[in-house]
């Protein structure tokens, strides 16, 4: 029981009269790579938005490491340990690659240094900046962007922007990483590289990952468990192979 890191209980949200998502129950264990799949408009990103505080669920609750985070603000949820990437990339475009990661490191205790210290440029400020840069470089190395660290992030090719989003989210030191279509728009070679990166993050940082993805090869190659959503409700859940071969799931995907 103790190794469940993220748990949702009847999580749901309505917009006006429309029940966009209802009764989602998911349990994700520590270091698990968990998939959230479903046809377009099934409510996958809405689930992410609830788990990160962008939307507040109208029913149900969710717990991180046993702590109820339902209805908390976005930055509180981030501090508690849920970090995400975005389906349509939302990097800080006019900042360098490394600065994007440094923003992610912003709030961590180990890099605390007061504004006064920064303004007077006391030694602690420089020490703090140096340690932050070291950490940022280390994270960029994991996603393979160390060489490009001084580029403006808007000048990176698409696939690398997606990797930078992962690095930035990782920098906030989360317990669980929520990846929204990380492989979208990548070619097969980049996708394979990304699978390796995600596995490495899991191993090196003891990270738990919940990911939304349409590429079924990617999902079945990476995730051992999935939840399939359709029209805002859970269609199937459990072991990846079984769930994806469920006749209902196949029907939802190809119609009929």
């Amino acid at each position: 029981m103790t190794d469940v890191i993220l748990k949702t209980e009847n999580l749901g949200i309505s917009f006006g009269g429309l029940k966009a998502v209802q009764d989602v129950n998911i349990e994700i264990k520590k270091k698990q790579l968990y998939g959230l799949v479903g046809p377009n408009g099934a409510g996958k990103t809405t689930v992410f938005n609830m788990l990160t505080g962008v939307y507040h669920p109208t029913t149900g609750k969710f717990y991180l490491d046993g702590e109820d985070l339902t209805g908390k603000s976005q930055e509180t949820i981030n501090h508690k340990g849920i970090a995400r990437t975005f389906q349509n990339i939302r990097l800080f475009n006019n900042m360098t690659v490394i600065s994007n990661v440094l923003v992610g490191l912003h709030n961590q205790e180990e890099f605390k240094c007061s504004m006064i210290e920064s303004m007077l440029r006391l030694p602690r400020h420089f020490d703090c900046e140096k340690r932050m840069r070291e950490r940022a470089k280390e994270i960029l190395r994991v996603v393979g962007l160390e060489e490009e660290r001084n580029f403006l992030s808007c000048n990176l090719p698409y696939g690398k922007q997606r990797k930078l989003e992962i690095a930035r989210a990782l920098a906030t030191n989360p317990k669980i990483l929520l990846l929204d279509e990380p492989a979208a728009g990548m070619n097969p070679h980049e996708t394979e590289d990304l699978m390796n990166i995600i596995t490495r993050i899991r191993d090196d940082y003891d990270m738990t990952v919940l990911l939304i993805e349409h590429d079924m090869k990617f999902v079945s190659g990476l995730c051992d468990e999935v939840t399939v959503l359709n029209f805002g409700t859970v269609l199937a859940q459990g072991d990846t192979k079984t769930a994806l071969n469920d006749p209902e799931v196949i029907k939802a995907y190809i119609g009929g």
Partner: protein
């Protein structure tokens, strides 16, 4: 020679405008609002300098008192008037800012009356060298402004809070999801803007000692113009715009034929620049994401 004197004068006026414009542009960049009460913070700073000069007679203490008071005032205004409107329509925020501006002006008039107060900060005299005759206050203004603006640039580029400020101005939502306390960053921005306004008030009184409750009104509008010319939201843009407006003003004032039209000429420049570059000199094009 005369021209160099005019130019120095223009640079000094321009750097004062730039300091005010920075307040407009930083608040716009981060809170996405036009704080039309910003000019009046200058005036409040002016009265603080007046009060402390009367009480203690030391201009440096006066400046310190003004900076502290303006920072507290700026933060308070943001908390009381603007924060409850976060997420409201931009027009509601704009009219609130105009309301705050009138509130500050009228309060000052009620407290201090409408007769101008004379605030003689210090008679620094003129500096003469190589045939030039330059009032020392222009050099002090120019020097202080350059130091302050350099410091601000370093602060924004190389500190955590500075980076968080840029991140918030780029994408507030994403910044929040990366754990940045957006309200805290907005507070810091208002504090910095108000402190700069207090400095600007000090420089303005050094130039001409007459203090009324509308001290900040016209410079506020000109600095706003400067911020737009430079590209609103851009810190270097505000500096460039401010200097440009100041130099144009100084030159125009020395030509008798057009001196009376100085203000008109400045606003004409705004129109021309916006026709050529709608986002201002250093403003960047913003793509709307769908």
């Amino acid at each position: 020679m005369k021209f160099i004197e005019t130019l120095l004068n223009g640079l000094s006026m321009g750097s004062t405008y730039a300091m005010i414009a920075l307040g407009y542009t930083m608040v716009y960049g981060i809170a996405k609002m036009l704080n039309f009460a910003h000019g009046d913070i200058i005036m409040v700073g002016g009265y603080m300098i007046f009060l402390s000069m009367t009480a203690v007679g030391n201009p440096v203490l006066g400046l310190a008192a003004a900076v502290i008071f303006c920072v507290v005032l700026g933060i308070t205004i943001e908390k009381i008037a603007y924060k409850p409107l976060r997420g409201a329509s931009p027009l509601a925020v704009l009219i609130t800012a105009i309301g705050v501006s009138y509130l500050l002006q009228s309060s000052a008039q009620m407290i201090f009356g409408s007769a101008p107060k004379m605030v003689i900060i210090a008679d620094l005299g003129n500096l003469e060298f190589a045939g030039l005759k330059v009032p020392v206050y222009t050099l002090v203004t120019l020097g202080c402004s350059v130091v302050i603006m350099l410091a601000l640039n370093l602060f924004v580029k190389y500190t955590k809070i500075g980076r968080a400020m840029i991140a918030v101005s780029e994408d507030k939502g994403a910044a929040q999801l990366m754990g940045i306390n957006v309200n805290g960053i907005i507070t810091v921005t208002f504090a910095i803007g108000s402190a700069l306004a207090a400095f600007a008030g000090f420089f303005m009184l050094m130039k001409s000692p007459s203090l009324t409750n509308t001290l900040g009104a016209m410079p506020g509008i000109k600095a706003f113009t400067a911020a737009v010319i430079g590209g609103i939201g851009s810190i270097p843009g505000a500096m460039v715009g401010g200097i440009l407006i100041g130099v144009v003003e100084a030159i125009s004032l020395t030509v008798p034929a057009i001196a009376a039209y100085t203000d008109a000429i400045e606003f004409l420049i705004l129109i021309v620049i916006l026709l050529v570059r709608p986002t201002g000199i250093l403003g960047k094009k913003r793509r709307e994401k769908v």
